[in-house]
Amino acid sequence: MAKGQSRIVGILKKYEADLLNDWLGELKASGADSDGRISETELRNQATEFISQLREATQSGNLDNIGTAEWQAVRDFLDGISRSRVAQGFRSDQTAGFIFSVKKPLFTRLRKELGSDADGLAEETWVATELLDKLAMHTVHSFQKTREDVIRRQQEELLELSTPVVKLWEGVLALPMIGTLDSARTQIVMESLLQRIVDTGSEIAIIDITGVPTVDTLVAQHLLKTVTAIRLMGADCIISGIRPQIAQTIVHLGVDLEGVTTKANLADALSLALKRSGFSITKSKA
Amino acid sequence: MSVIKSDVLPIRSEQDIVLARQAVRKLTQELTFSIVDQTKFVTAASELARNTLIYGGGGDLYWEVILDGGRKGLKLSFKDEGPGIPDLKQAMTDGWTSGHGLGMGLSGSKRLVNDFEIESTPGKGTRVTITRWK
């Protein structure tokens, strides 16, 4: 960094209002607010906030390492910007553009202040470029992370949606599983079943695997562990819809389903569940 | 692989086991492990800390938050300078205990984590290292 205090610090203070106006001009020219996803006021507020945060942080004299405590507020602010840009559906280059477009206004001021001092100007321009590039990088990085989080959350939600836990009766939950089970999916689905048992206070859960073509050792073991965990919590579990091939596999794999209640189909499982809960079903005479 | 942060905690009293559990819980939360993963890892840590105290006569827990190829993980190393374990295979068997335990601590914690390593030299001491990835 330059010897003594960087001139950037002074410029940010002296020309705060001018910088802001020029920057907003740049942003408008680049069409940052043209499609109405972000309002002019919002953009202005964000720009104002950024300039003032930047001024605060540069006062520490550290202009080359944005990972330190002085830059915490700026980083947090940029993380916030990234999150809102993700939510508003912007691309990462558009988000980085927000920071890059402050370059021109800042360089113009630097030239004005340091016009005659060519060396000083070159040096300060370099410092400013480096700094803004780092801040833009941070923003893009944070943008990508936010987007990855969003995607992961959506995938998890989709996974849960694809195997919903349904309440069949007071105290009886059912989990109809459909499609190929892999270990990861089984795990997530089972965890959500256990949570629903607690939330609803249901004492019987039916896992119906009629729609499952095959099970491998891992999945079979996972089913067994789920049954054991459900019992530990004080509820009970019935597995229904085990098809002949799956029954064979389970035996071949040596997975011990001894002591686990199994029923041929969901209807039989429900009728057993109701009986255990003390309900009886009779046909009304009419 | 790089270490993001690390520290050492003493395991010299029963209270230390509680403190170790709490420290590990906090780290797993910082790493945003799922509740199930948090619980599994804290439980494994509790088992190993108790072994360090009871059989190893006390020792230390070294923890590291690590970064490897973009994924983050938590690595714990329990180290003591106790009598060591003469027969590791036996000690790692479900249900085997030299004392009055259930003999599930070592074998069970292995199932609760992603990586499990145990080194022991009779007369020198024991070190058990476990890792769970985010």
Binding site: A229, A235 | R111
Partner: protein, 129 residues
């Protein structure tokens, strides 16, 4: 805190474990409970572990032992409120708490204790006849 409070509710005792138990505290609880069963002639014990974030082999063993000791003293134990993550972990650890009766929550646990006490009293009457 160096003792877990034990509440008496008629013929039953209720223990709510709300702190991260260190080993000695767990053993003290075991002693206190058995002493109190004997003193109050309690017929049932409810151990609420819904606030417990982990159950390791030590706590697991304490719970299993307490339940066996209570049985010898003619009281039935029900452990209630185990968190899903705790249950999943116990299964993976290899502890299934055999012989320990569990229920989803305090209400269901109480119901279990009451029905089993009623059954038992009916049996005792038969024995007398």
């Amino acid at each position: 805190m160096d003792r877990i409070p034990i509440l008496q509710m008629g013929k039953f005792l209720l223990v709510t474990i709300q702190v991260d138990l260190h080993d000695r505290l767990a053993l003290t609880l075991q002693d206190d409970l058995t002493a109190k069963i004997e003193k109050t002639n309690a017929k049932g014990v409810l151990i609420d572990i819904s606030s417990l974030e982990i159950v390791d082999s030590f706590i697991g063993r304490m719970i299993a032992n307490t339940s066996s000791m209570a049985r010898i003293l003619d009281a039935k134990t029900v452990v209630v409120g185990m968190q899903p993550a705790v249950a999943i972990t116990l299964v993976e650890l290899g502890l299934t708490l055999t012989g320990v009766q569990t229920a989803l929550n305090v209400e269901r646990g109480m119901h279990l204790l009451r029905t089993s006490l009623a059954d038992k009293e009916a049996d005792d009457v038969c024995d007398q006849v």
